[in-house]
Each structure stands twice: as structure tokens, then as C-alpha cells.
Symmetry: D2
């Protein structure tokens, strides 16, 4: 991406890894709403694109080179990639919260480049080998699945909880799948798109139109829509001691919550920033069949078609997730 | 209180306790902002006064009669009173959250009468004997201290946390005292009243004027002011993984929070509804000197002067807590 | 059971429920190791059989009468039964730990009768309606499944944990199934019986002979064998910060643990006493197919054949769980 | 220490710090039971002294040199020293459990040298500035205080818990002080030494002779004696849902616990390995007067008298803690 709304395919020299790095031939890159936001408006909150940037951070591929000190992965390994590289030294890193590291280097988050390149270099400790039975596409989708898993963990999901997921986009559906895999009693998904609600039903969740009057009772809310008013509405449907996690990114500067009413039920609201150490579990859940990410992928693109992939959501209402295959000509 | 803004002193027949009840001769009753709100505007949220009501729920006294099945307290015991009586049967009670019981009977919360009466009847299981070294005044203040303790527990306060308390009213100061007694690293209190900030300093806390530009870093926020904008402002001063508890009751219908910014730090916001099983700890903290509640009591009243007590806060800026002594003539 | 090793079938008058009770026509009763222990040796720890007792506490059936104040279940409901009835008043009950209530009335635990009777009376709040798709046999096995679920919860099982289950009896296999349903990364089961290890494999777990030299690494140990030395051996296989739950009942008076070695890894050992509020989750896990309890039931008996059912384990090595069908003639 | 039971004072060249290191002029070094064990028997568990070693790991002093990349401390700073340096890269370090890092470099733990040297070099990130109001002696005792704090945290100490501390040595007394500072309801200390029990009383704790028949009820046990049978005996005195932490190092190969009895109360036993991130809290507790470590120091020594210091406990029954002052001539 050289400027707002403009993607250019360029030749770059083959990269060489540093001692602790590896080079990965990218095979599948999922398109995320944040990629689309950078492409269309050039910013997300305080992150502003102010120069050319390579987008893409949901990625899997094959290791083609490793640095001299790399021991955990080898050339030829099929790997999924955790996109954030922490400093390993600060207060947050030492407290086990490396994802909140103020110096986190994150793929496709300005000023750092991302994964829409045929060979990318990254700290080898971010690579997780995936079994042969797992496709690269599935490997790329471990990233949004990680968002769902971590959202459940931030919400303090416990076995048996009745869970309400607001928003049936990729993150909402994967949060729902995570909740079920972590022992939720029931999982209900809401959206305003019938196409997406059908997909939710097909994936085994209870589905409910977002405008339906709420009368259910839930223990946990996973807000994945980012739409105005949905967080407050969802929190009203929680039982006493209910827990909400705000996973979806809202565009609103301030979100209004009727806290004086909600405090009767002594709710807890957990904000969420990506994920922490979720790849091993994500791999297990997909490898064992407990989570099926495949139904989410509705459209495929080559690297040259990246612009189409980035605008899919607004062009094709009945779409969920676009995957770009960088080695596809 | 027979109507809005009108307190009448009446003779009532001596009460007889049910089998599990006790009658307590009240010796000290603290005045809470909720008493004042019922007196002045007749409602707090969904709780509406629609008939005569006896106010007062911060209370200590001496047991004068016990029901036939009461075993844990005896006539002559000096006791503090937990004002809420749960059903002991519902989902919340059985989950250890009796304070969220939908059928909770709570002193001076419509339609239930409170403690501004010389002899009051209550479930004997709500009575906690206090040592002879503790005054009845201190016994009455175990109730707002309980609010502070539970606020700390809801916030997940851990030893070493740097704590910001916004609002230096009775609840704020007792929340600050609770935080210190539970192992807070540092405790900073903010307010707009110099009188209250001086009291905070005198009690050993760092004090800061509420309009001061925030530049500190905190792990925990205990919002006790109920004032507009303070929750959002306080949350901005939290470190990554910071935790906020909203203890103060706000009059605003919806509170605006910049969640899209705050989620970078992955904060947690816990709403708070009174307290759960805090009297034993409150008694220990006061009895052992780890918390000193005495400095809070700035004014004293007889039962006949209740109206003055209920309006103290608005009449006398340099006041903190009014205590009514029902046996005082 | 009238005396040690002697079961007699008697006629009893039809029971009438108290106001909060219900009468259930029992349809399936699982045999537990504790039933067998009472039958053979007349005691488990401090619980001693000193008169005739009706055994059986894993039970499902149909409601045939309800007391005057019962509102949550109706005649005709198919129900699973939680066998413990707490006092709802003590410190433990009010803290949400009703299963540790010192006055707990538990089916088939001396001096209380159990479920091996065609019509049994119990507090209606212990009944959980089960869906039509669930068999009574499955309904009865929700009790040992509850043991497994609670064991996982006591161990602090988190999504992604690698779990070692020692002992592939009914409780071990259901603990393994619970662990997987609650998000375990991997689940490995050990036993000395090849028959049971085959069953473990068939249920989808990794299986390992109990004498195999340990070289794996686990986050969680669920000890379900009760065999000497197994707890210590299993704890040695845990990673740093590993957590063990002792679910199996041991006959040893004192269990030796090499704590001075184990403390390097800062392990946690949680003892387990039955379960707390697990039926709703157990029903969901079985109803949704996430846990399949059916493969455990290897043998069936009528009420008249109870003695055979109680001695199955020692008579038939290749057995797992016996179910008695009280209505079977 | 050049060989078992032999301490030699040698001249060493002035050290130069690496880029991230600092050199500290040691001012106070506490003697720990582990120092004495290495001195007398040359090993603790798997740690074996097989060459000359400098003992001492409870230490405070003044920074005299800093490496080129050190930013957080400066020459002249008075500092306490956390003795363990983690790798910051492994699974444990990244999970926030750096104290379980398998490559932890720990002062005076073979093969690493310790603090009984006038100038010692260490990673500057292990240094914590202490206020002028704190003595170096107090600074050195932050290490055993850290053991007490972490023991409380491992036990899941909650405000209001009644705490039993078995063993009134330095660690036991500081665990008791930690428990009180973290909000314990009551704190009872047991020992067999009247001298130490008197000290416990003087520090404000309930004291009880170790042979007294137990009839109290406790929520938390902090085992700090390491003596045979004490852990089991203490666990028997816990209430339902009680929690025990084993802080004391036992010499027994296997510790016998009556788990089949203890599981009725569903206890939890947490093993303890030193501490994690406790210095900031330890400094606050001592600086604010909430913990007073001074009464523990009963004897003082120069570097030349180290051998006397190391044998103090066995030579002088009425002793608690020896402090060596390396700059003392």
C-alpha cells in the first residue's frame, strides 16, 4: 500500500534472517478489518499510516531460511505466525503480559510491515509448527481464532456459562467457537445479517436477529460487533455477576453505559487487546476438530487481487472472510 | 420520614422478635448519602419511597431480646449490624453471592424500614458481636467500611498495587483505608474539597486536588465520587492491566467511557453493589487499629435532630460523616 | 443392604413428598466404587454403615409426585438427580460451597438411604430436567461426570493445558472427557488394564500404560486411580506451576509426597470432595455431544441382581460401569 | 567458603560491570538457613557445592559503578538486591513466572557466587532503590520478607483469613507480618522455642506452643518450620476450603499427608519456590511501618566473623537472625 486506497505489487530482494529470525514463504494471509481500515482511512485510533506499508497479519506459510541461533523451527516446517514480537524486558513482558508490551512490533501496524509479501522475515519465536493435516488457510485463521480465545479468557469464561456473542463477523463466529470449545453451556450469536446468522446456525450456535427484543439470560457477553449501543444492550442481558468482554473495535470516541443500572447486577467489563499465548491452544482446537474455521472463508484472492480482497466486506454483503494466497499467480 | 423532606418522631410498640430474630437497642446510626437522597428526592434509581419509611442502615447497638431459635448472639451483646437479609435459597445465595439476592431485604431501602428507631428487629444472623474496645460509633461505621473493603475486593486489589481513590467522602476515605489495610503499595486520594483532602493527608494518604493534571501511574482505581467524568479520567491514569471499581453512585443515566482508547491497556471495570461477608474483616481491621474510622465522624445528632443530620452535607461543607445517637435525649 | 455383603429386595409403602420434595420413579442407577465399598467392608473413612441402608446415588428417573411448594419441576419430567442436599444456612452454604456443608444429606452415605428403590423422595431442588434426547442411563452418569468436571475445576484447568489422567476407571475416563470439553490441549490417560486403555483410546484420548517410564510434560494431573504412589509419580511429571487434583479415593492412611523436590516447580495440589453445581454443565456437555458417556456402561442389571452389580468390578476384569434398572423385572 | 565448614577471607580485584550490570558495595548481608546448610553439609536437595563459593544472598548496599546501558539506577543509590537473575526468554519467564526459570542465576546457589564480598556485580535490573529512612539491615531483610509475602500470595491469602503460621524463625515471623499486612483477620504463630514465641507476641501475633493440642480454626496455613509432621498437623486445623502453603524446607525425602481425611475439607496445598516480583511491595511495607523487620536481627558480625554468623543458630538458641556487615573491619 503506497497511499490511501492504492496497492502496488513490487519486487523486493530476498530477505536474510538475523540470528534469531526466520524467513517464511507465505502461503495464506487472511484479511482483517484493520487491514481494510488502514487501506481506506489510513488509521486506527492512534496508529496512523504515514508511508508505504505492507498489510496483512493473519498468516501461515513454510520456513525457507533460519538464522544461526534458531533452534525451535527448521527449514521446511509448516508454520502459523503470531504477529506480535515483544521486547522481553519491560514490566509487562516480565509480568506475563507481553501482548501489552509498549514496544511490541506488530505486523502491518504502522510503522511495521506485514505479511502480504511472498517471503517475510520475523523472530523465529513467533512461529508455531502446524500439523500436516492443517491447511495453510486454517493456519492463517488461528490469528482471529486467537482473538476469540483471548476474549473468552478475558471474560473469565467458566464451564457451563451461557454466552451471548454480539456480531457474527469472523471474530464473533470464532469467539463463539472458542466459547463452546472452552466449555460454554449455551452459545447465542446475534447479528443484523441473515447470511451471517445462517452461518452461525450452520456452525451449531443459537442465532438471534440483533433487533430482537432481548429476553434471554446470559452469564457472559462477548461484544464483537463494534456497533453503537450494542455493548450496553448486551450488558443489560447479563445475569447477576455477569461478565462482558469488549472484543470489537468501536469507532465511537466514547461509549455510553448505564452503569448506575448495571451495578445492581455487579457486572464486570473487561477490555481486550489482541491475545496472549493462544497459538498452542488454537492449533489444538483446530487440529482436533473441536473448532472448524473453514466455513468462514468465503472468498479467495491472489496477491495481485489484494485491493479486491481488502474491499470485499463492503462490496459483497454475503461474505465473511477473504484469504489472499501470495504464491498464487 | 412521612413525606419528602419531613421527619417525624413517633412512639411504636416494643417489638417482639421472631424465632430467628433479635431486637437491638440502637446506639449509633451513621447517615449515608442514600438516606439523604431518599429524604430529599424520594428515590435512588429504581428504588422509590412511596409511603412512610424509617431511614438509616449504618448501625450498632446492644441486643435486648432474642428469638427462641437464636444461638449465636445473646442479650447484652454489643453488635454491629449487616443491613441486608438474603433469602438463602436462590441461585445467587447458593453461589455465595447473597448480596445479589433478588429478594434481599435491606434496611431503609423501600419498602423496608431502617435503623432510626430505638429498638429494631432483624434476623439474628445479621448481627456481629464487637469487642468492648470498639465504640458503637465505630460499629456503625463498619457498614461504609464494608463498602470500601468490598470495592477493593471487586477491583482485585493485590498486595503492592498503587491505588487511586477518586472522591474523599466517607466511602472514599474508607476505601482508601481498606486498600492500605489490604496491602496496597501507595494510596492516592483526590477530591475538590481542601477540607477533605486535609483529612485524607491526616489519615496518611497521598492527596491530590481533583483538577490537577494527571501524570501518575496506578494499578487500581476506586471511583468513589459519583461525579461526572471522573471514572473516565481515572481510568486514563491506570497502567496496562489496570483495574477499576465503580463504587460511587452516579446520577448520570449513561456514563461515557473512551473504551477504544482504554482497551490498549486492557483495563477491567468492575461494578459494585454493596458488599459480601465483610463484617468479620471490618471488625478485625478496626479492632486491631489497622483502620481508624473515628476521624470521619465530624458531627453528632439526637434522633429528634435527624433532619439536621440528613442535610448536613449540603449545609456544612466542612463535614464528612454525621452520626445519630437514637438513645440520646 | 441389611448386613455386610447381603442385599434384600423389600416392599416399602409408596412415599409422600414433603412440601419442597418430589418423588421420582428411578429408571437407571449407576454403581459406584463407594457402593461396592459399603457393600463389602461397610465403611469409607469415617462413614460407617451401622444398620440397613439403601445403596445407590447415581440416578435418573421420572417425577411422579411433587410437594405443595415445588415450582421448578412437574410430574412427568425426566430428571437427573444431584444426590447431596445442603442446609442452606451454614458458613459453607452461604459462601457458595454447599458441597462442604457439614450437614449435607447425601444419598447412600450412612445414615441416609439411596436410590436403589423404585420410588425415591428427595428435595425437588436437587432435580435437573434432562432433554428427551438423553437416556436415563446417561442421566445417571451425570453424577460421575460431575466428579470429573469438578476435579478439572478444582485443578484450575485452563484452555490449552496438557492434562494427565491417572486411572481409566469411570471417574478417570469422565475426568478426561471433562478436561477435553473444557479446552484441554492434550489429554493422556494411564492405567494398568489394557481393556481400559483401549476404551480410553476409543474415546479419543492418548493412552499410556501405567508402568511406562514417564517422560512427558503436563500442566495438570487428575489423579483418579487411588492407587499407592500414583499421585507422587504423576506430580513428578508436571511442568513448573503445574496443578494436581486428587480425585481418586486412596485407602492409604497417609500418602507420601516428595514435597522438597516438587516445590522447585511450585506445584499446587487440590483435594476434591465431590462437586458443586455441576449438573447444568454436565447436561449441556452430554446433550450437545461434547461428552459421550455411553461407552462406559458395559453391564446392565435388574434390582434383584443388585448384588451382582455391586461385585462386578472384582468379578469381571473387562468391565467399567454397571447400571441397575430398578423398574426392570 | 573453600571447603565444608571453612570460610576464608580473600582479596579479589575490583569488579567491572557489564553493560547492563552494576557494582554494589555491600553493607548488610543476612544469614539464611540455606547459607548454613551449604556451610555445614554442602548441599540442599540437588544443589551441591563442589568448589569454592561465596555465600550470602540477603543483601543491601550502595551502587558504586554502573554499566554503559544501565538507566534505572545510579552511582550512589542505596539499593536492596533481588538475588535471582532470570533468562527473560523461556516459557516460564514469558508467562510471568521468572522465578521458575530453569536458567535462573541465583546468588550463593552453586555454582554461582553470593554477596559476602565487599563489592559484588549483578544485573542492574535486580536492584531496587530504598528510601533514606530505611537501614541497609532492613534492606537486606527484604529478601526473607519476600519469602513471606510470596508464601501468602501462593496460599491465596484473602482479607479476613485467620492464619496459622507454624515456625517462628525469621521466615515464619516475616510470613506472619506479611499476612497481617495483607489483611489477615487473625495471625497465630506456633513454635517450640519460648524465646521465639515471646518475640512473636512482641510483634503482635497470637503465639501458641507447638505441642499444644490444636483446637483452633484457620483458613490459611503457612508452614515455615520444615519440621516433620508439622505440615500434616497444621492442615488438620484448617477449615473447609482451607489453603496451605509449604514455605519451610523439609529434610524429609517424602512427607506423609492424610489426604483421604483432608479431602473432606477440600483443602489446597501450594508449594513455594522463593518469590516473584515482591521487592516493590516489601519496600513499601517496611518504609510505611506496616512491617517492622528490625526485631528479628539479634546478632551482628564482620566479614571476618562469617563462620560465627553461619553457626549462630546452633550455638545460640535464643537467636533469630544474624547480619554480617562486610564493610565493618
Amino acid at each position: 500500500m503506497t497511499e490511501l486506497g492504492k496497492i502496488v505489487v513490487e519486487e523486493r530482494p530476498d530477505p536474510d534472517p538475523g540470528p534469531l529470525e526466520a524467513v517464511v514463504r507465505t502461503e495464506a494471509v487472511g484479511v482483517c478489518g484493520s487491514d481494510t481500515a488502514y487501506y481506506k482511512v489510513g488509521r486506527i485510533g492512534d496508529y496512523v499510516v504515514d508511508g508505504p506499508i505492507i498489510l496483512g497479519h493473519e498468516v501461515a506459510g513454510e520456513v525457507v531460511k533460519v538464522g544461526s541461533d534458531v533452534t525451535d523451527v527448521r527449514v521446511g516446517d509448516r508454520v502459523a505466525i503470531e504477529p506480535g514480537t515483544p521486547c522481553r524486558n519491560c514490566r509487562e513482558c516480565m509480568a506475563g503480559r507481553y501482548h501489552l508490551c509498549p514496544d511490541l512490533v506488530f505486523l502491518a501496524t504502522p510503522p511495521y510491515d506485514g505479511a502480504l509479501i511472498q517471503q517475510m522475515t520475523i523472530d523465529a519465536r513467533n512461529l508455531y509448527p502446524i500439523p500436516d493435516s492443517m491447511t495453510y488457510e486454517e493456519g492463517a485463521l488461528l490469528e482471529p481464532l486467537s482473538v476469540g480465545i483471548w476474549g473468552c479468557q478475558r471474560a473469565g469464561l467458566e464451564g457451563g456459562d451461557d454466552v451471548l456473542v454480539t456480531g457474527a463477523g469472523p471474530v464473533g463466529l470464532l469467539a463463539a467457537a472458542s466459547a463452546r470449545a472452552l466449555g460454554a453451556g449455551s452459545v447465542t450469536v446475534t447479528d443484523v445479517s441473515d447470511f451471517r446468522l445462517d452461518l452461525a446456525k450452520q456452525m451449531g450456535f443459537d442465532a438471534e436477529h440483533g433487533d430482537a427484543p432481548g429476553d434471554g439470560d446470559f452469564d457472559v457477553l462477548l461484544e464483537c460487533s463494534g456497533a453503537p449501543g450494542v455493548l450496553a444492550q448486551g450488558m443489560r442481558r447479563l445475569r447477576p455477576a455477569g461478565r462482558a468482554a469488549m472484543i470489537g473495535m468501536s469507532k465511537e470516541e466514547a461509549i455510553g453505559l448505564p452503569l448506575s443500572q448495571l451495578n445492581v447486577n455487579e457486572l464486570t467489563l473487561s477490555l481486550v487487546n489482541r491475545y496472549n499465548h493462544t497459538w498452542p491452544l488454537a492449533i489444538e482446537l483446530v487440529a482436533s476438530g473441536r473448532v472448524d474455521v473453514a466455513p468462514l472463508v468465503t472468498h479467495h484472492f491472489s496477491l495481485a487481487e489484494s485491493a479486491d480482497a481488502l474491499t470485499l466486506a463492503s462490496r459483497v454483503p454475503d461474505s465473511v472472510k477473504a484469504v489472499i494466497h501470495p504464491q498464487l499467480s
